[in-house]
Point group: C2
Chain length 281, copies 2
Amino acid sequence: MSCFSPLTSELPFAVRSCDRLKGSQLTRLDPADPQPAYRQIADRLRERILRGELAPGEPLPSESELIAEFAVSRPTIRSALSVLKNEGRVHARQGRGVFVRGVEPRLRRSSDRYSRRDREAGRTPVMVDTTAIGPPKIELLRFAPEPASPAVAGRLALAEGALILLTALRVYTADFVVQTSTAYMPYHLVKDSPVADPGQQPWLGDTIANLASLDVHVDRVREEVVTRASTPQEATDLRLRSGEHVFKIARTMFAAGIPVEVSDIVMAADRYVLAYEFPVE
Amino acid sequence: MSCFSPLTSELPFAVRSCDRLKGSQLTRLDPADPQPAYRQIADRLRERILRGELAPGEPLPSESELIAEFAVSRPTIRSALSVLKNEGRVHARQGRGVFVRGVEPRLRRSSDRYSRRDREAGRTPVMVDTTAIGPPKIELLRFAPEPASPAVAGRLALAEGALILLTALRVYTADFVVQTSTAYMPYHLVKDSPVADPGQQPWLGDTIANLASLDVHVDRVREEVVTRASTPQEATDLRLRSGEHVFKIARTMFAAGIPVEVSDIVMAADRYVLAYEFPVE
DNA sequence: TAGTGGTCTAGACCACGGC
DNA sequence: CCGTGGTCTAGACCACTAC
């Protein structure tokens, strides 16, 4: 397209003179650079973004403009753009263009939320700092006693196959899912109590309050954080595109040194900042 | 590789009937499926991986085999594979093949490392659980007093432009970089002390010990964790491919409620599990 | 040498969005 | 309507690895 240079077939990379380019100068790639063209192009575009030359929300030059600017074929431009997409720096919208992704404010998930003060103020510990987006809605996906898997039994220091109470939740805010959690409690702790009654559960999602009502007092929390690409299921749940990252938190609550609940919490990695504050010594 | 073992078909996961080896049956795509071919193919391959049909370390079928199996062109197969690469589920090695990525054990970075017991045992708090890989080596990149940037001044509750001591470190283990950190301390705390002397610094990387020698006693730590794609600089430092994720930890140390050090710590996200343990109430 | 993945081109058709 | 990005094809050459 454009720029019918007879040099095209002679010189594989660049060096085509093309006087009338629509706005954008021709940008030469460095043939000495061992990096392939699509990486060099991605690097140049990334620089423009990091330097603020292309501000958040702004569109990048269109594919055809980039083809003209760098004098390469469309697939090469698309490879370059896909690098930036995979880095989460831009997102494409069909029919519109490719846009620099803004730094959306992240939800803050703070270890403070386990403090008694917050609980007594009536704040649910499922998440905090919902001030900007309203209170969370909780959807109960499953709630049932089950035999513990070996992994869960190990984490709860139970015999394999012992009964646990499984609670699977999904947390929404303003109709978009922000996290899912799957929690396991030893069934013998909650049996015959309101906590084990799906219709009655008094503090859905608030393990500490639930256990306190049974005179089990959580005094220590451990959270182990990893991040990885989402599975298709998680991507569906959290409305991510497959491949976007999640935080996965394996949480254990202890009462007097005994694990009384473990849970696996999954949330969109780029929507959260995890804040931990703890004493030293 | 494939199908020499008669046991294969008995194993719970390897269900392929392997009569005539990689003749690999033709796998039909669903034309009714609104998903494009490359995604359908990626999904099928992902399933095989998640089901264990393709075990960690094993090669996927080669591109030409996949072309035959799904009856599509090479670029389509390559798009499908690039989806899985970007998810971190496989990695390609030129001239060899595409291999299922194993779950390498992650280094554990635990909040315990700030405890006095560990310090007195002589363990450096820069990282822990180095048992598997030997003690860390610390490279000092920069060590100099500087005027604080507005951001750092804010985090340290100093006036803008106040002097801070900047310490930039890189931590190696067995010759591979595991984390970088940039720390800032109010210069007035350390001025004229051995802590401010590059040649003398007694506990490089151990802020708590350094400050304790000046009678400043850290009693609380806050860490704020985010994850995002690495910048090119970080990718170089940590030997990541551009686009792989990092954890970024913004740490603040407090003594009697006053921030006495802030630091930014960056590490390869898929090499770490961050463990936090803290009391409730 | 044969097979693998890595890069690049040229050209085609489609779906979406705004005018 | 036209321009945008999304998908797909066919074919080429290269660099690396194994044998």
